[in-house]
C-alpha cells in the first residue's frame, strides 16, 4: 500500500484538498478499485477510532434506554408472582385483605399522592445534550450542565442567551420551557410549549406533554387532561405516562 495514498486520503477526508484535487480524487475512486478499497479501509479505521472513544458512553446510554423499553408486560409478571390456592391460604388471604384495607384507609386519610403532588411525581426531566463533541460553545455547555444538575434558574438564564444566537435549536427551546416551568415562570413556559407543540419538530409531542404538566402545576386539571388526551400513542413512553396521569386525575 502506498504511503502517498494514505496522506492523500487523509487530506480528502479532512477537507484539505482544493476543488480540482477533489474532482480528480473522486474520479479515481470510481475507476480504481484498489484505491477505492484503500479509501474504504482508511475511513473504517477512522470510524473505529472515533467509536473507540465514544462507544462506552453510547453503550451505557443504550443500555439504560433498553431497560426502559424492553420490559416484560406487567400482568405476565404478576401472574407468576401471585399463586392463589384455596383452602390452605385462606387466612393469609384474609390477612392480606385486611392489610390492603388498612393501607387504603391510611391513604384516604393522609393521601401522599394528592393532586398538588402529582406534578412533582410526574415532572422528571430527561437530561439534554446541546453540544456537539468539539464545537460546543461555552454557553451551551453551561446551560446543559445547569439543566442536567437541575439548577433551573441558571439554566434559564444561559438558555435565554444561547437561544438569541441559536433560535432554531428545538431542544434548547424545550429545555428553556422546562426551566421556566421549574423556575416558577409557568405562563412563559406555557407559551414556549405551545410554540413547540404547534411547530413541526420532532419534539412536538413533548410540547403536548409539557403543556399538560404546566396546567397540572397550575392545578387547572381540566386543561391538563385535555392536553394529556392529545399525546399520541405512537409516542410510547409519553403516551404511557399521559394515560397513567389521566387515571390519577380521575
Amino acid at each position: 500500500m502506498e504511503k502517498n495514498n494514505y496522506t492523500l486520503i487523509e487530506k480528502y477526508l479532512t477537507g484539505e484538498l482544493n476543488e480540482e484535487e477533489v474532482k480528480s480524487f473522486q474520479a479515481r475512486l470510481n475507476e480504481d478499485t484498489t484505491f477505492s478499497a484503500e479509501y474504504t479501509l482508511q475511513k473504517s479505521m477512522n470510524i473505529f477510532l472515533e467509536k473507540d472513544r465514544n462507544q462506552p458512553a453510547l453503550k451505557s446510554k443504550l443500555e439504560s434506554l433498553g431497560k426502559d423499553f424492553f420490559l416484560e408486560p406487567e400482568n405476565e409478571q404478576e401472574d407468576k408472582v401471585i399463586p392463589i390456592s384455596r383452602n390452605k391460604n385462606r387466612n393469609r388471604w384474609l390477612i392480606s385483605l385486611l392489610a390492603t384495607a388498612a393501607v387504603a384507609v391510611l391513604l384516604v386519610m393522609f393521601n401522599p399522592f394528592q393532586q398538588n403532588d402529582l406534578y412533582q411525581q410526574y415532572a422528571s426531566h430527561q437530561p439534554i445534550s446541546l453540544t456537539e463533541k468539539s464545537t460546543g460553545s461555552g454557553l451551551a455547555t453551561k446551560a446543559e450542565t445547569a439543566f442536567n444538575q437541575k439548577d433551573y434558574a441558571l439554566a434559564y438564564e444561559n438558555l435565554t442567551i444561547y437561544l438569541q444566537e441559536n433560535s432554531a435549536d428545538q431542544k434548547a427551546q424545550l429545555a428553556l420551557g422546562i426551566s421556566a416551568l421549574e423556575f416558577g415562570k409557568t405562563e412563559e413556559a406555557i407559551s414556549i410549549f405551545k410554540k413547540i407543540n404547534t411547530g413541526n419538530s420532532a419534539l412536538k409531542n413533548y410540547g403536548t406533554w409539557y403543556l399538560a404538566l404546566s396546567y397540572l402545576k397550575q392545578k387547572d386539571f381540566e386543561k391538563a387532561k385535555a392536553w394529556l388526551r392529545q399525546v399520541p400513542d405512537s409516542e410510547k413512553v409519553l403516551f404511557g405516562k399521559a394515560q397513567k396521569l389521566l387515571k390519577d386525575l380521575e
Binding site: D52, R53, A57, F70, Q126
Partner: protein, 184 residues
C-alpha cells in the same frame, strides 16, 4: 441520493442525543420485540439485538459518505432480523433457519444495499478491532491520541518521543502494521 429526514437519527447516535435516542427506542423497539418473541427469542434477546443494530448504525453515522435515504425504522428492523437469524443459525436446527431465511431474502427492498453496507461495515469494524488489539500498547496510544486531535508536539511529550517527526514516522508505521494485521 438525498437524505431522508430520518438521517437526523444517525446524527443523534453520533452525538449521543438523549431525546432522539429515546424516540428511536419508543418508535422502533415494539416491532422488534414482537418479531423476536414470535421467533423463539426472549425480551432480553430483543434488547441485545436492538442495541447491536443501533451500534451498527452508529458506525455508518461516523462515515462521512453515508447518507440515509430510507426510513430508519425499516432498516433497524431488517438489521435486527438478520442478526437474530444469524444467532439462531448458530444454535438451532437447520429447518427452523430455513423458514426464517426466507424472511431475509424474500423482500426485494430498495434499502437492501444500505443494509448490506451497514453489515459490511460491522464486519470490518470487528476485524479492525481484532487487529487493533494485536498492536503494541504504544501504537494503540499513539493512534488514539492522533484521532483525538491532540497536537503532535503534545503527543511527543506524552509518549516520550524525540520530536514531531518521530510521532509522524511512528504513526505511519503503526497504521501500516494495523492494516497488515487486518489483511492477514
Amino acid at each position: 441520493m438525498n437524505a431522508h429526514e430520518d438521517h437526523r437519527y444517525l446524527i443523534a447516535l453520533r452525538k449521543g442525543d438523549n431525546l432522539l435516542l429515546n424516540e428511536l427506542y419508543s418508535k422502533f423497539s415494539p416491532q422488534v420485540i414482537s418479531w423476536v418473541k414470535k421467533n423463539n427469542g426472549s425480551m432480553s434477546d430483543a434488547q441485545d439485538i436492538f442495541q447491536e443494530a443501533l451500534i451498527a448504525l452508529y458506525n455508518k453515522a461516523c462515515d462521512p459518505d453515508f447518507v440515509l435515504s430510507y426510513p430508519v425504522g425499516g432498516l433497524i428492523f431488517q438489521i435486527c432480523k438478520n442478526k437474530w437469524i444469524d444467532q439462531i443459525r448458530k444454535k438451532t436446527k437447520e429447518s427452523e433457519v430455513r423458514i426464517l431465511e426466507k424472511e431475509r431474502y424474500d423482500s426485494e427492498q430498495p434499502s437492501a444495499s444500505a443494509i448490506e453496507e451497514i453489515e459490511e461495515e460491522e464486519i470490518r469494524q470487528t476485524q479492525l478491532n481484532l487487529a487493533f488489539e494485536k498492536l503494541s500498547e504504544l501504537c494503540q496510544k499513539l493512534l488514539r491520541a492522533v484521532s483525538e486531535g491532540i497536537a503532535s508536539k503534545d503527543i511527543a511529550v506524552q509518549l516520550t518521543m524525540n520530536d514531531v517527526n518521530t510521532v509522524y514516522r511512528r504513526k505511519n508505521a503503526c497504521v501500516e502494521r494495523w492494516k497488515n494485521l487486518y489483511q492477514s
